[in-house]
């Protein structure tokens, strides 16, 4: 070995110089840049991932058994577990309303905070602040705010003559309550839109103005297309995150039981219950793969539809 090393490097060096085209070199560098993620994935995530795929076809309970039972878990899920459908329904309800609402709100807020008025920085900070606050503390705070009689939300509603709902106590209002809470922390998305708004060239607006486009038209035809890549990103990650909603329901209901009349039993909460309360780990693994496939399909659809509305500057990147 020792003697070969210098020989090798000598012969190799000139060769790589010749054979690696610029494109290949760029590709290689790209892989090196994402290598921490790839290595992390291969060393830490990939094993458990494959294990859970196999586990989903077994009656695995962590400690006593792991027998192959074929598709039983999947069949049981679809045909014999009412809570599976309830939890899926709750989760879809949450995603369908929460994600578009949050995207819409964040864009609107970003546009408002992109106007040239004094004190703007302070407002930006205020709206961003909720994003910095972390999970459980925020949930506990909101449980107080949403108290039907003494909470700030209903108190303020009563000022304008509205009798507020019972929020977390009324199964019809528990999910809206959570969506409302989520909406409060849209500062993260807002910041991304703001950054992207500031990158829209002024010349485009000037040209449109000369052509007689009013403010609304300028917004629709210039602003929105120019920030559409960020909207797309937020939309896709929002859906992925939305389907994984768990903490809110776990913390904000008694003993994490999923709220009044099962209204907050989300997919992941039911999965957690099966995994760690009943130890039906194989079943929980099967559930997690179903969720993975649902998210995968939705993301693929999103990617497929993206070229119709997402506008990339430069235009050749798809």
């Amino acid at each position: 070995m020792h003697t070969e090393v210098p020989k090798n490097t000598k012969t190799k060096r000139p060769r790589t110089k010749k054979t690696l085209s610029l494109k290949q070199k760029e590709g290689l560098q790209g892989y090196i840049f994402i290598s921490p993620w790839i290595i992390g994935f291969l060393c830490i995530t990939a094993g458990p991932l494959l294990f859970s795929l196999y586990g989903s076809f077994t009656n695995y309970d962590v400690t006593s058994r792991m027998d192959f039972i074929g598709l039983s878990n999947y069949i049981k899920m679809v045909t014999n577990d009412d809570l599976f459908w309830i939890s899926l329904g709750n989760t879809i309800y949450y995603v369908v309303i929460s994600v578009p609402l949050t995207v819409f709100g964040a864009v609107l807020l970003a546009v408002l905070l992109n106007q040239g008025i004094p004190g703007l920085r302070i407002f930006r900070t205020i709206y961003y602040l909720p994003t910095v606050l972390s999970g459980v503390g925020v949930y506990l705070l909101w449980m107080q705010l949403l108290n039907p009689t003494t909470g700030l939300v209903n108190t303020m509603l009563s000022w304008i003559g509205i009798q507020g709902p019972a929020w977390l106590l009324d199964p019809n209002w528990t999910k809206p309550a959570l969506i409302f809470m989520k909406f409060w922390s849209l500062g993260g998305g807002m910041l991304l839109y703001l950054a992207s708004l500031q990158g829209v060239p002024k010349s485009l607006y000037e040209a449109a103005e000369i052509d007689g486009a009013n403010a609304f038209k300028r917004f629709i035809h210039i602003t929105l297309p120019m920030i559409s890549p960020v909207i797309f990103f937020e939309f896709v990650t929002g859906i992925i995150g939305g389907f994984q909603v768990f903490q809110e329901a776990y913390v904000m209901t008694d003993n994490g039981d999923g709220g009044p009349a099962n209204s907050l039993v989300f997919f992941n909460l039911h999965m957690w219950d099966k995994a760690f309360n009943v130890f039906d780990m194989g079943y929980a693994m099967a559930m997690s793969w179903v969720l993975f496939i649902i998210i995968l399909i939705l993301t693929l659809i999103n990617l497929k539809l993206a070229p119709r509305w997402v506008h990339y500057q430069g235009g050749d990147q798809k």
Partner: protein, 439 residues
């Protein structure tokens, strides 16, 4: 090209760093593994008792054990309630569990079935009178296929607290607490107080301190599951009546009045019973310590939970914790020695009197009552007596998560969306289906 080389170097450095990290993870296991120090067997004991009142007591017990003999040394480790058992599960799966752990009394059988805990039959065989030291309903919970897989540690029970001052004010006999549901409702009505159209005091709220399930336990005397025959008995006619009773009781006031009233409730000084907003309250006997610390010498009494009708029985409900040896523990003999010490009459009495907690050891409970005096003794004595009529409702192996199907149905009844009969019928069907799918 130079850049390429640089990034390769960085990659190598990164890989090395990862390697060290992984190696570090691997090492920690060896360090933690219990070996023998100076010929002593080292064992580790996990529980979630970390509060200012409980931690010193359990540490003292551990310390006493370490001093009482020179073969075993116990190290106490506190883990938060939120993740102690998931951590234990992971450590059992990894083959490196703690030696003794405090776990939930309601799921002993599941853990036994899933091979997560050690069968104690061979130890208990040498201690034939051990099982008679504990309350039979607690001992029953630790049996799986007739073998014990844990030793009960503590428990609790729900009793009725009533405010004697308010009883006098309302013209009721302060030494005659209600004994049936009808009496309870009648006394409560007399304790209600209004200022204008607003209630400033309510006599009683059936869903404060306990849930509808405890009323069902009280009515049926067996709860929602028939353990003997391994099947759900959720739509028992008495259970339906119990829900109807709660509903009718609350309908007298309306949900708005009750919600408004309840939203002012908190704990300690803000507890409605302590602040005089509620004349009677169902709660665990340990609630006494809050009255003692925040009640400003209020005059109160305690009584068993009223019975549905005269002669139906004052059945109450409780839970508790057990000590067990996780599967794969290295020194089960030493672990068992420590558990025996932990659940012995002397240590149980110490734990009980210091924490005002119901313990599983019968002699320990009686001794603790002797150590107390005054009001504390009165409450504790009642709590101990009440254990004889306290139902423990372990999760049945056939349907461990059945309550996730029953509670939403009960919610629907309370929200007025379903009749008690229809809801409990549906719950019964759903649980039967669950039990069948688990077979």
């Amino acid at each position: 090209m130079r850049f390429f080389k640089k990034s390769t170097v960085m990659l190598v450095v990164f890989l090395l760093a990862m390697g060290t990290l992984l190696a570090a993870c691997g090492d920690s296991k060896d360090e933690a593994s219990s070996g023998s120090k100076k010929g002593k067997t080292e064992i580790e004991f996990w529980s979630f008792w970390g509060s200012g009142t409980r931690k010193p007591v359990i540490e003292k017990i551990v310390d006493d054990f370490n001093k009482s003999q020179d073969k075993i040394h116990v190290t106490y480790k506190y883990l938060p309630f939120g993740d102690i058992w998931t951590k234990e599960l992971a450590s059992v799966a990894a083959g490196n569990p703690p030696d003794v752990i405090i776990n939930d009394i309601n799921s002993v059988q599941q853990r036994a079935q899933k091979n997560q805990s050690v069968n104690l039959a061979k130890y208990v065989k040498n201690d034939p009178d051990l099982k008679d030291q504990f309350y039979p309903q607690l001992w029953n919970t630790v049996l799986y296929k007739n073998d014990p897989y844990a030793i009960p540690f503590n428990t609790d029970t729900r009793v009725l607290f009533y405010n004697k001052d308010l009883f006098k004010e309302a013209g009721l006999d302060p030494n005659k607490p209600p004994t049936t549901w009808d009496e309870l409702a009648a006394d409560a009505k007399k304790l209600d107080k209004k200022s204008g159209s607003q209630y400033t005091r309510l006599g009683f709220l059936p869903r404060y301190g306990i849930g509808p399930d405890v009323w069902i336990d009280n009515a049926t005397g067996v709860g929602e599951w028939d353990y003997k025959n391994g099947k759900p008995v959720i739509n028992d006619p008495k259970a339906v009546q119990a829900l109807q009773w709660i509903k009718d009781y609350e309908a007298n006031y309306g949900s708005k009045v009750i919600n408004t009233f309840q939203s002012q409730f908190g704990s300690e000084q803000a507890d409605p019973f302590i602040s005089g907003k509620l004349g009677m309250e169902m709660n665990a006997a340990t609630f006494y310590t809050q009255i003692r610390d925040f009640g400003k010498n209020m005059d109160f009494g305690v009584a068993p939970m009223p019975e549905m009708t005269s002669g139906n029985g004052h059945t109450s409900w409780g839970g508790g914790f057990v000590a067990e040896i996780p599967k794969g523990a290295k020194h089960p003999d030493a672990s068992y020695e420590f558990i025996k010490f932990l659940t012995s009459a002397k240590e149980q009495a110490y734990w009980a009197s210091k924490n005002f907690d119901n313990v599983a050891n019968i002699q320990g409970s009686k001794d603790a009552a002797k150590d107390l005096s005054g009001k504390a003794k009165e409450v504790y004595q009642l709590a101990v007596e009440n254990l004889d009529q306290t139902l423990i409702t372990p999760q049945p192996i056939e349907a461990p998560d059945y309550t996730s199907l029953v509670n939403p149905e009960i919610d629907k009844v309370m929200l007025g969306k379903k009749s008690p009969q229809a809801a409990l019928d549906d719950a019964q069907k759903a649980v039967e289906k669950l039990a069948k799918s688990n077979k």
